[in-house]
Symmetry: C2
Amino acid sequence: MSKHTVQFLPYDIAIDVEDGETVIRAALEAGVHVNASCGGEGVCGKCRVLIEDGSVEGGISEQLSEEDRQKGYRLACRAAVKDNLVVRIPVESTIDSSVLKKQATPRRTAHIQEVNFEELKEKGLFVAPVEKIYLELPPPTAQDNLPDITRLISYLQLKHDEHRLEVTLALIRKIPQVIRENGFNVTATLVRPVRDVGKTRIINIQAGDTTRQSYAIAMDIGTTTIYGQVIDLISGDVLAEHGEFNGQISYGEDVISRIVYAEKSGGLARINEAVIKTVNKILGRIIRKSGVDPDNISTITLAGNTTMTQLLLAVDPRSIRRAPYVPAATLYPPIKAADLGMDLGEHVAALLYPAVSSYVGGDIVAGVMGSGIYRSKTLTLYLDVGTNAEIVIGNEDWLACAACSAGPALEGGGLKFGMRAAQGAIEDFSIDPVSLDPMIITIGNVRPKGICGSGLITMVAVMFEIGMINNLGKFERDLNTPRIRENDGVYEYVLAWGDETQIDRDITLSEIDIENLIRAKGAIYSGCMTLLNEVGMSIGDIEHIILAGGFGSYIDLEKAMTIGLLPELDADKVTFIGNGSLMGARMSSLTNRIRKDVAEVTKKMTNFELSDTNSYMDNYVAALFLPHTDMNQFPKLKSRLEQRK
Amino acid sequence: MSKHTVQFLPYDIAIDVEDGETVIRAALEAGVHVNASCGGEGVCGKCRVLIEDGSVEGGISEQLSEEDRQKGYRLACRAAVKDNLVVRIPVESTIDSSVLKKQATPRRTAHIQEVNFEELKEKGLFVAPVEKIYLELPPPTAQDNLPDITRLISYLQLKHDEHRLEVTLALIRKIPQVIRENGFNVTATLVRPVRDVGKTRIINIQAGDTTRQSYAIAMDIGTTTIYGQVIDLISGDVLAEHGEFNGQISYGEDVISRIVYAEKSGGLARINEAVIKTVNKILGRIIRKSGVDPDNISTITLAGNTTMTQLLLAVDPRSIRRAPYVPAATLYPPIKAADLGMDLGEHVAALLYPAVSSYVGGDIVAGVMGSGIYRSKTLTLYLDVGTNAEIVIGNEDWLACAACSAGPALEGGGLKFGMRAAQGAIEDFSIDPVSLDPMIITIGNVRPKGICGSGLITMVAVMFEIGMINNLGKFERDLNTPRIRENDGVYEYVLAWGDETQIDRDITLSEIDIENLIRAKGAIYSGCMTLLNEVGMSIGDIEHIILAGGFGSYIDLEKAMTIGLLPELDADKVTFIGNGSLMGARMSSLTNRIRKDVAEVTKKMTNFELSDTNSYMDNYVAALFLPHTDMNQFPKLKSRLEQRK
């Protein structure tokens, strides 16, 4: 796709955007404020901008007078960039444009780090875990009436130099018919051992030559959402992907409430059934979507946090939530997928990512494996944020990890108008520093319904940076705007008036919401600091930050640093890997090398229980400010704020 | 128990019998004929004998006149030997007692060969396959919050020098609760690898110290009957044993008809369910009887013929019955007993005895292992006879095996009045060479219902030896007895008149029945001869015969040699091991050494397909005589017959 340069006046800020992007999102990216209340639906008419040069598509609306249209005004939220543009934002309040320029930082999201298979191949990291071999076996005769299984094994030994082979009951059950279906021409599926001393297991036999159809499933068992992928083991491609809310949600939103439920009589069985049902729903969907024959699927690799993994396996999780927080196991043997109730062939092995501890689970290990930290020289901070935040610091030589509870604020939970990152969620935000009017961008460009995590971070960051809220997260009491008001003794800012929303009520951000965010970001930041401290390092030593989890995909890095959620680091050093757990599961499906390394890696990952670390509470209390008690940890922000004064 | 000597007059034959044995059975053992029609029930009154010296208990009946009682007459079938006796048989026909003396050979059953555990221990053959270890684990603390499984494994590694440990899902599911039940004091059950390079699997964990309760199940999956035992792995004792007819019987009596049934739509599933149902019935019974806690049962070892094994595993058996007779597999991986539908703990592994071929199955291999042929220098002929006969010849250096179909005659099948060896079956028989009146002994000493295999062999042998039937199995046509008659063109001998039976019909032995027996014994004998021939040996080279199977327990060896079922060999060289399959399963439960050796042994067992061997048919035709075309193969019988002439 072609790109166009959009220059915004009077700010003299230019940005390159994809062809077809809306002008309002271009402004957002550039950090330029445009009033907007309707989330991008085009009904409030507040986002009129003047296209001074170049052409756009759309953006004409009855909200614009005929005269305005003639002049070149368009609605920024409906006008698509099709050309290099010069766009003037009508500044209705008379303010110094130098103030405007200091208003905000341009939007900076993290670079997305993809799996680089070529690099992995070059590094010899590809050891195919599943191999299909086509065999033209000699048919039995009176002189050679070996058992079917022996015929298969002998031929593999003699003609393919395969040794240390073992078979399964499922194979024995299948062989008599399949071997005769196509005149003793068959394809055998071999699963390689993780360790050289292990055995190669023949898990499947099929009539004819099916060597080109070889697939695996990768799955992330998230507390909230479960994602599955069908992976082509020959090309490495993802053929189909689908996510569903984990059916256990009805038994509790977070791991603790799930454990509480599992402790009830019959609870473990029900909660296990719920997740298996979701897994099967996803399997059905992705297998259908990919069009692959299920018989050609050989493995399913699953990654999840320790509680999700135990619940998937129907293992009583109660001691996970009680000091000293002991999981039943962190390494799991290969298990027959069908034994877990999964709708997959009898031959399919379920491989579970190992965990480190009760709160640093297989999802994080998968992220560490998938992102490649464990084989990199670069000192990296890996951060997976959801309701819990898991932190890994290290490189190829050492790895330290910890987990802390962030609370649900970063996922839009626990806020008065909080919601998940779904259609209608305010995901981006800007404010006119003089009028204090908002620019609201929602997911799906529809009228707002609520606030999601990334929107919340941005709101608090911009409000703090323009001085609308102080470092305690409280609104300045003397601001002259009807949008700030006291409601039942709590101060709040009206993001959207009732008639601009989908819910016919004012959508507000209250000081309680901000407090929740501060506690969440404080927990995460102090977790990082404490862990760094435990390993004798400081934030300055970190060369790379990897963000994982739903949280990281759209978050404005500069804003996250402004509120003190992330340590202040060059945004170029931050990458985003999306669902690290799923990425790790996919990588394991493709190469045994990862599965071989993972046992080493989990042993290497030193777990720190933050609750047992004296400095954690001190660090936490110090982090309950915007951005932090110690402004020197945020020098760039400090200088921006000083400049503003 | 004390023994008494019973001397029979006028024959001057003495025999030692157990205290309490009936006089009629003592006569039978001695080869002395006493007329008896009612099977030992005491109602025909024909077996009156005179106690000339010593005392008996019972035997007084209204069938005896007061005068006879005074004289010392008793009913032999109801009189128990309690003293040294001199017993006179009233010979009502006037015959030369020298003829009587030549009449028959004393009854000779095989020595019963028992498992000699002490000898096995001395030979270092005991490698306990299951070990329970009691562990007092340190409870977790904040500084030591290892996962439960890791705590268990680490402790076993550090304190018990156990390495290469692996765990199961069942263990992970069980550990969280059990480990906390008794303050982290637990007993771990370890299953040792068969090979040194293998892994030790921790299959179970129990609260407290259960090391003294360690059990296994051994089971023989017979086509007709399934036997199970609960075995104490510490003492080696059988704590409970029970047999049930294989529930598959309703789908066909022999393996071929079972296979035919399994080929029908849904047939395999139904026939598999039937056997599992019987297995579970036996398991329930023996576990209850033994009083052991099922959680202390660690393994189940099963032996069965190839078809029974495939049906137990729900593996399609169709190619077993079609040339070139190919089984699906002969070596089976360990399988979770619960996966097979067995009512045993999730932790219990089912170990299946390997087979050699479609018709030399795991039951025979188990017999070879259990009887110890494979580690003996003595050249042995192992013979397991049922509907099929399996033959193994060899010693510690080599083993050859073959199978042939004997037909059901030896199990009482296919005869006009044939029946299994159950109550009312004529199991023993003698004949007055002059009057041609029979002595009939039934199982349970009740009025006869039919003829079982061992009874049939004895009948034909004695009739042949006194010249009542010729070497073609035909009755001499000129004998003067109402018991021999023509019925629908077929000659038959009336064993019991209708009013003496339980079925109110004459029970007869017809020439067709005899023909069936000749075909059965011909198949077995020629099988032995052909196999010997294939390995370049003759019957004279055989130093030991081991009989296995239900057939061998009560069979009169001399009679079996007389009809040419067994080669003529000193009866002392014949031993009987009973259910060889069950014995092998029990041995495997007790020592891994057997399981280690068995793979070697099955490789060593060269299988000969008799149907592909040219000489088999010639040998078979030559064996379709009593005892054989070539009388020189039966020199002792030849000399007895010549003496009689």
